[in-house]
Amino acid sequence: MLCVLVPLQQSLGMEEKFDCIIIGAGPAGSAAAITLAQGGADVVVLEKGESPGSKNLFGGILFTTVLNKLIPNFLESAPIERHILRRKFGFIFGENETTLELRSEKFNCPPFNNTFTVLRSQFDKWFAAEAEKAGAQMFSGITVDNFIEKNGATVGIKSKGGDELFADVVINTEGANSLLAERAGMRKLMTPHNRVLTVKEILKLPKETIEDRFSVERDEGASVEYYGGAVKGMKGSAFIYTNKESISIGIGCTMDEMIEKNSGPNGILEHFKELPTISNYIKGGELLEYSTHMIPEDGYNNLPKLYKSGLLMAGDSAALINPSLYHEGTNLAMASGVCAGKTILEAKKRKDFSEKSLSQYQRKMEESFVLKDMKHFRKFLSFITNNRQFIDDYPKIFMEMLVDYFTISEMPKKAVRKAIIKKFLKNVNLLRLLYGMWRSKGALV
């Protein structure tokens, strides 16, 4: 299918210089490629996988506000699994579990709240094909090893096979394991403090079984996310998302805590799967694929450099993640790809690819929801780190109160209530709770 063995330069024509080289055919790369190709630029995408999508994965939910604008009729051809109608958030501690569930008919008609489950290997392949249709050249099986620099400007790339390729601008969308960005000094080193490690399984289940267990029908889907004891009390969450004929189940926790607790990701996933509620959801599921991935949670205050002369960074490699309850990554990636593409089209008109000219990318990003949301949630992770009681003690105590309240006995209800309040005041420092809640306002929601 692809010319891995043919020297790249030869297959593309010697001495050819592109308007833009994009590293990685993920959501950011393909979104940038579509934007550039539609704008008439000569753009090539280099993908290290055997084909686009073959090394890409995420938990399972794609937000499509950006995709909607790029490819307005995407629902007709994109490999979408289900739209998310039911959203469930829960805490599990020991024997107790409590969940909040949201279902709205508003989410059950176009544009379906722009929230869909997809399988990334299939979706990214489709998205890359759309970029090709728009006029971008797509080359798979090519791993980029380094940028080529000249007088402080990035002027091209060098592949692992030794091929060199040149362009006015390179967009790095290599993903969460940002080796190129590190090598080029565009970001600080990746550390266990700024990386979440996830593992996931795709379990095959009959369509009817999924629909029965998750109370959905036709193309409707459910998202189930658990915190607390579900991930052994660690900073992170566990999830189940419904696909058409499979479910995605996984966990993601910060690496520093895994190391602190000597706890590997697979063990946490197995623990989650064995919880009674969860084992009922997944009973009989046949494992189709096991996978793992990192999530960059550097946060707004530690973002990598987004641009320099001849180089832009987008998607996970630029650590564009909204770490709050939204768990939003791919949509931010696409938005950044579009911003990068537009920036280059404008720079091309000016024939100026200097750092100053490309700084328009930063401005575009700051004006878009990407950096606005990341700025808004910039304290999310540090708040949770410094206020563990919000994911630990408080939900635990709240659940115990509910259990006490609903435990049937012959104790007069008034006495039950009194005992609960007494226990609550004994366990919770009210002042600390109120102060924490006041502070959480700016960090969590």
Partner: protein
């Protein structure tokens, strides 16, 4: 509480299509590895790439098991160098 047997990592890895390269994309500095009293790569790696040889104290690197998350290098930068496998090799996720 739960008597069900967990599915092993080896069985999980069977589900992932991989095109194995002839050479490893991972390097471990054995001397530094031996000096680490509790090497995180032995439990952080989701696909059991790293196993300690109890006799020699060295780290066995089953690079063909690698699912390419890159967490090993992030966890143990002192002695793990992880690089992208050569173009077209390594994992080929069918679902992702």
């Amino acid at each position: 509480m739960n008597n069900k047997k967990r599915i092993s990592i080896e069985d999980k890895l069977f589900t992932v299509t991989r095109k194995i390269d002839t050479e490893s994309h991972i390097k471990v500095n054995q001397e530094k590895f031996k000096k680490d009293p509790n090497p995180a790569i032995l439990y952080i790696c989701p696909s059991k790439v790293y196993v300690k040889n109890e006799e020699t104290g060295e780290c066995i690197v089953n690079f063909e098991n690698c699912l390419e998350c890159g967490s090993c290098q992030v966890a143990c930068r002192d002695y793990v160098v992880w690089d992208n496998p050569r173009g077209g090799t390594g994992v080929i996720f069918k679902y992702g």
